[in-house]
């Protein structure tokens, strides 16, 4: 989960990494007073959970309170990569002498914590890495070893930080590394790390992504209002609902509701749908051995989604038996009814029994199964995918 710039800077401050004094506002009402307090030009920075904010015009410099208010009014109307600006961070404008890059992340292939740094900071660091890799400093650390000051010094020297600033640079590098470990981060970045006109170092921006799965260790973050969210952007309403229900779910921009078993086939099913010219409306993961209640909730998410025109279901009966799965679907149909056409296939453990249950339910009440086409092992999954695309096409 990604943090807002101001939230990342809160953590920086907690670890003693120098940041500009800033104030967050969620409307332009207080801006005049805030900026007056800063006595000088300010940076007016949109807070959004996506990159490329600067290029999208989300950061402005204002010479004083009046200009700041005007600028903020504009920013609050802005959408950056589709995300509305709901918070703005006001900071004194920095007198920038030099910009460095400093980041810590994980190299998953090597199972190491990696510090990446460069004397050439700013937005184009990836280009620097590609074109002039010699300007990129890289150091690996095992999770069970600390970063010593001599490690940090060696990084600072390779960043070509001036000798008079080595001491504060060492502190910043070590503390960023400690923050990374203390908060179970996936990424912490200072870009740029700035030398100001008064020869001090300050973290002008922050980029922090934490590991959702480790949030149980950091209750203080929830207390500070930092809660589970996407890597980029906030959750949609439906995603929030799914998160509350414990169902991995992601809205996509197509019209076929995906009702698969398992994350792996979720991705593969998506490929199949695309292959036949369709577009999924979502990604979803049933988890292993879902309960009938969970299956019902999954269908609720799809049925209530106005973008969904048809539903594609697939179940490989493994731990969860196909008959139990069929029971869950029938339970949903009886309780909620289904407003969209659905095609589904069952195979694996007890698939015949699953098919039998559907047929029984159909006999009992043909209307119940009216919108459901169900198949067993005899129909290849490719055929089911094709049929789902057709159904969505027909429904449009």
């Amino acid at each position: 989960m990604r943090l807002y710039e101001f939230e990342g800077k809160q953590l920086f401050r907690e670890f003693g990494i120098p940041v500009p004094q800033g104030r967050v506002v969620d409307s332009s009402d207080d801006i005049y007073e805030v900026v007056k307090g800063f006595k000088g030009p300010v940076a007016v920075k949109s807070q959004v959970l996506t990159g490329g904010r600067g290029k999208a015009g989300g950061i402005k410099i204002a010479s004083g309170p009046n200009e700041a208010k005007t600028v903020a009014d504009e920013l609050f109307k802005l959408k950056i990569k589709g995300y509305p600006v709901e918070k703005i961070l006001i900071e004194p404008a920095l007198d920038i002498v030099h910009e460095y890059y400093l980041g810590v992340t994980i190299d998953r292939a090597r199972y190491k914590i990696v510090v990446i740094a460069s004397k050439a900071g700013g937005v184009d660091i990836e280009e620097t890495a590609a074109k002039t890799p010699e300007k990129i400093v890289r150091r690996e650390f095992s999770i069970n070893e600390p970063m010593y000051s001599f490690d940090a010094l060696s990084i600072a020297k390779d960043m070509e930080i001036p000798q008079v600033l080595l001491k504060p640079a060492i502190a910043i590098i070590q503390r960023l590394f400690e923050l990374f470990k203390a908060y179970d981060a996936k990424l912490v970045e200072i870009n740029p790390l700035v030398i100001k006109g008064d020869d001090t170092l300050v973290a002008a921006d922050s980029r922090v992504s934490l590991d959702d799965d480790a949030m149980f260790r950091h209750p203080n973050l929830a207390k500070a209002g930092i809660e589970k969210r996407h890597e980029e952007g906030e959750l949609t309403e439906r995603e929030k609902q799914a998160t509350d229900w414990g169902i991995p779910y992601l809205d996509l921009d197509g019209n076929i509701g995906m009702f698969p078993g398992g994350a792996g086939f979720g991705i593969m099913g998506n490929d199949f749908i695309h292959h036949y010219g369709g577009k999924p409306a979502n990604f979803m993961d049933s988890g292993g051995g879902p309960s009938p209640e969970r299956i019902a909730k999954m269908l609720v998410l799809l049925d209530q989604n106005p973008n969904v025109k048809a539903i594609f279901g697939a179940r490989f009966g493994g731990i969860s038996r196909c008959d139990d799965f069929a029971k869950g679907v029938i339970m949903f149909l009886k309780e909620h009814g289904l407003s969209k056409p659905m095609v589904m296939r069952m195979t694996g453990n007890m698939w015949q029994e699953g098919v039998r249950l559907f047929e029984e339910a159909k006999k009992e009440d043909p209307r119940l199964m009216e919108k459901v086409e169900f198949h067993g092992i005899e129909t290849p999954i490719e055929e089911i995918s094709k049929r789902a695309v057709e159904l969505a096409w027909e429904a449009n």
Binding site: G103, R108, A109, S142, I143, D213, G262, I267, H274
Partner: protein
């Protein structure tokens, strides 16, 4: 022959007294897996499905000779359970739970490397050597003894692939669930090399997916292998994954998209498959 587990493996279950632990222990025993005991701290002395329960892995290993363990515990407990197993001398460890903190897995990996233990998971459906041992939560229905190995990041894909191999009479030597978490106990490359050393495995199907770097790093070993590798990658049409900032982009380079993975694997000598049904066709061509 097989890799990692077979009928002689003495398997223990960490978290054997929990709901999932008990349920799957019974299933595994029914399959014929040699389950010798399990642990549940503070519950030593009990029995689950006639298997002894111990407080610590060290006791279980000492009393039962266990050399393989599967963890059925909530994610927050996995780090210590895994380290305990590794230090107690377990040589192959299956981490079933999902959502294990990334930093925890780094600790586990350090310990595993130090002690020479192979770890698979987290978020794996487990491993099965058909006819010998089923360790994890995989349904036995899809599997039958044979001559193709599989290694996959996804349980459901494993089932589809195994089912295809079973129906076409290739069968499987061992099917390894690498795991679906972002950081895993083993890499594709490491498991592929184990299959390479297994005489009975005539081909390996590796099923990767969008994101991460394990598929790309498999390209370091595939050219050195005599055993042919078939590669399937999910997510060819998935929305592009989010880069983990600049640092992530720099560390992982141009890796991660499904198409790139498939292209790299093909360039390394793997045989790309786009559908399950293409697997037996390719195997046939290869004369497996």
């Amino acid at each position: 022959m097989a890799i990692l587990v077979d009928k002689n493996s003495k398997v223990m279950i960490q978290g054997i007294t929990g709901g999932a632990g008990q349920f799957h222990t019974e299933r595994m025993i029914e399959y014929g897996t040699k389950i010798v005991g399990g642990t549940s701290p503070g519950k030593g002395g009990r029995q689950v499905h006639d298997r002894p329960v111990f407080d610590t892995v060290a006791e279980c290993v000492k009393q039962t000779g266990a050399d393989v363990s599967a963890i059925f515990l909530p994610a927050p407990f996995v780090k210590e359970a895994a380290i305990e197993a590794i230090r107690a001398g377990i040589k192959f460890l299956v981490v079933i739970p999902e959502h294990i903190p990334i930093h925890d897995m780094l600790w586990v990996r350090e310990e595993a490397i130090k002690h020479g233990t192979t770890v698979i998971g987290g978020n794996t459906a487990g491993i099965i050597t058909p006819g010998e041992a089923n360790l994890g939560i995989m349904p036995d229905i899809a599997f039958k003894p044979g001559r193709v190995g599989t290694v996959s990041r996804s349980g459901s894909i494993t089932y589809y692939v195994a089912d295809t191999l079973t129906r076409t009479d290739y069968g499987q030597t061992t099917c390894v669930g690498l795991g679906g978490d972002p950081i895993l106990g083993s890499t594709f490359a490491e498991i592929l090399l184990k299959f390479e050393d297994d005489e009975k495995t005539k081909a390996v199907v590796m099923c990767g997916e969008i994101g991460g770097v394990y598929e790309e790093h498999a390209c370091d070993v595939i050219p050195k292998m005599k055993t042919p590798v078939l590669a399937m990658i999910g997510g060819l049409y998935a929305p592009p994954g989010k880069r983990m900032g600049h640092a992530g982009a720099i560390v992982e380079g141009a890796m991660g998209t499904a198409q790139q993975k498939l292209d790299m694997l093909a360039a390394a000598g793997a045989h790309p498959c786009k559908t399950f049904e293409s697997i037996p066709q390719i195997l046939k061509k290869l004369g497996v």
